[in-house]
């Protein structure tokens, strides 16, 4: 939760690589072909790294949740009277009777084919529960993500360009303040004010959930949008600050650059210098953050989903933990971690397309 950009490899690599001038002779023969193969090699390396990480996640996903004390089958039957024979049958059904090693290989094999086991409490395949809740989470986080990224970048850019000014101070002040506010608390306050209604403010928005049900077509879309407003506002409020601060400091770092002086010396207008030269360069480190954020937001909406009764993965996770519904917890954990890994890898893959210095 630190304010620093938690840039993965690529950002630091950008700096390192820039400092090493590439021998001139090499670039001379067919730069295009060279960069293409170099990029492929780079991409393969990154994908390989991601695969290792995914494997590590798979392993942890398995062993971490074997640490949960108690007997999963007894937990699963929720204390209902069950004979030892029946318990054994369940163990067999869920493969819990096998030696740990075999359970593990079995689990890996299945996980790789998308089979994450069957939820104890819902008796449906975990993957079904996830695919059921995923669109909802994606809708919420996706909307919030787009908004807070756009807002954060926009305000961050403005703030940096006019740094030290009143607008900058207000901007960073507000961002820092909202950044320090617990999201669930803000959500609760927002519910009190805008959903329940406080004093003269009418409660215009629903207090929770994703839809009223029974609507179709455009009315349905409108209805969902209506439900979306408050949770999205909450998420945007607590999340945009980080993007703003990172964008701002990246741009500030960039603003001392000599090539900006060159650009101005060429007679470019101030806003052109900013749009064409400063911002695209400054946004490079932000890109990583953006992708990482997307991965994290998906995993981090537990609280907002809980507070706003949003039927998404976060709520599912919390519910699964409190049983605990081992396969579901495990499946969600795998899912969350993979989401972050995939997003990080995407960031790594996109980065060199934006910054020619990396990965070639």
């Amino acid at each position: 939760m630190s304010i620093q950009p938690t840039a993965p490899d690529s950002a630091s690599a950008a700096v390192d690589k820039a400092a090493v001038p590439v021998p001139a002779g090499t670039a001379a023969r067919g730069p295009r072909a060279r960069t293409a193969t170099a990029y492929l090699r780079y991409g393969a390396a990154k994908a390989g790294g991601a695969a290792v990480s995914l494997l590590a996640v798979l392993v942890t996903g398995f062993f971490l949740f074997r640490l949960i004390p108690g007997d999963p089958v007894k937990t699963m039957t929720g204390g209902r009277p069950v004979s030892a024979g029946q318990l054994a049958a369940y163990r067999k059904e869920f493969g819990l009777d096998l030696p740990l090693w075999e359970q593990f290989t079995d689990y890996c094999r299945k996980a790789l084919t998308g089979d994450l086991g069957t939820s104890y409490q819902f008796r449906t395949p975990v993957i079904d529960k996830i695919t059921e809740a995923l669109p909802n989470t994606l809708l919420l986080t996706g909307t919030a993500f787009v908004l807070y990224t756009a807002l954060g970048m926009f305000l961050g850019t403005r703030s940096a360009w006019r740094h030290g000014g009143l607008g900058d101070k207000l901007n960073t002040g507000l961002a820092l303040t909202l950044y320090s506010v617990p999201s669930f608390w803000l959500g609760l306050l927002i519910i009190i004010v805008f959903a329940v209604g406080l004093g003269p403010i009418p409660g215009l928005f629903p207090t929770g959930g994703m839809e009223s049900g029974g609507k179709e077509g455009f009315a349905y879309v409108l209805d969902v949008a209506h439900h979306l407003v408050l949770p999205v506002v909450t998420l945007v409020a607590v999340e945009y600050g980080q993007t703003l601060l990172v964008t701002r400091s990246a741009l500030l770092d960039e603003m001392g650059s000599d090539y900006l002086t060159t650009a101005r010396a060429k007679g470019l207008r101030d806003d052109l210098v900013r749009r064409r030269h400063a911002v695209p360069n400054a946004l490079l480190p932000t890109v990583t953050l953006v992708f990482v954020n997307l991965g994290r937001t998906v995993a981090g909406v537990i609280l907002v989903e809980t507070v706003f009764s949003w039927p998404g993965l976060g709520g599912l996770f919390y519910q699964a933990l409190s049983v605990p519904d081992l396969p579901l917890v495990q499946g969600l954990f795998l899912f969350f971690a993979s989401a972050v890994i995939v997003m990080n890898t995407l960031a790594d893959l996109v980065y060199p397309l934006l910054d020619p210095r990396v990965g070639r």
Partner: protein
Amino acid sequence: MTTESPEHHEPTAPLLGAQGLRVTFPGRRGEAAVRAVDGVELDIRAGEIVALVGESGCGKTTLARTLLGLVRPTEGQVRFSGRPLEYTSRALKAYRRRVQLVLQDPSGSLNPRHTVYDAVAEGLRIHGYGGDERTAVASALSLAGLRPAERFFLRYPHELSGGQRQRVVIASALVLEPELIVADEPVASLDASVRGEILALLLRLRTDLGLSALVVTHDLGLAWNIADRVAVMYLGRIVETGDVEQVLTSPRHPYTQALLSVLPEAPGAPLVLTGEPPDPSRIPTGCRFHTRCQILSSGEADTTGVASRCRTEDPEILTASPAPQVACHWARAQVTT
């Protein structure tokens, strides 16, 4: 020929020597290995100042680091006081009491969080100096020209000017009373007006303490200013060596000639070598300089009849002897004819 330096012609045993030194760095990501130092023989005698000159990337720094034991040579050996250098940490530590390093960038060479006192005392602390640390530090500082020393004790590097910083670096090298200093571009980052003072300090140390020095530089003027002997390096190899006066006033190697000719006040038309300095991961066969050699391209080598040797035959490695030598088929042919 000037004879200001009293000691430098006396034949003493070499203090520090490189024998057939080669340093190869493994190439990055499947690229060819970098032969940064590619067969160097070089001796430094007690009380002698040797300048090592050459273009950027020719391996000067790598050679200097290898001499200090910071890099292990791939081949060949470093000899100090007649014995080969050992690479056990104990032996290295003992060696590093006697040979010191001064780097190009005085601001970078000083830890911004250490005071001048700490910086100078660091060596003493590492080597568990038994005597009075304070006195040792103070005398090293005054030797380096920072007087009164106490005034500088509590200063941080950022509170000093560039010249003062370099003096602190030199003081911290002197505090262990070494026999030899390896200075890598000691004044390159200093202002012209300050440069002279630091060079004068190096000269004075030699006269007062009998300190030997290997000065790495790309500035031929600097070599002229302070060195007894100069070694010109090109692509990991020493291509010409000899007394400063001789090498710099009547260079024999085409490369040395070109280097001297592009100096601003040099007489005659500058011989501007074309192209970038070649890459130590792809050293040309034959004479390593032949791809850029103006003698070869102007056809002069042909006239002398060495052109094909230039392209195919690597001139042998120059020996460590102080006598003037040149690694060039053409120059050698000139002498014999």
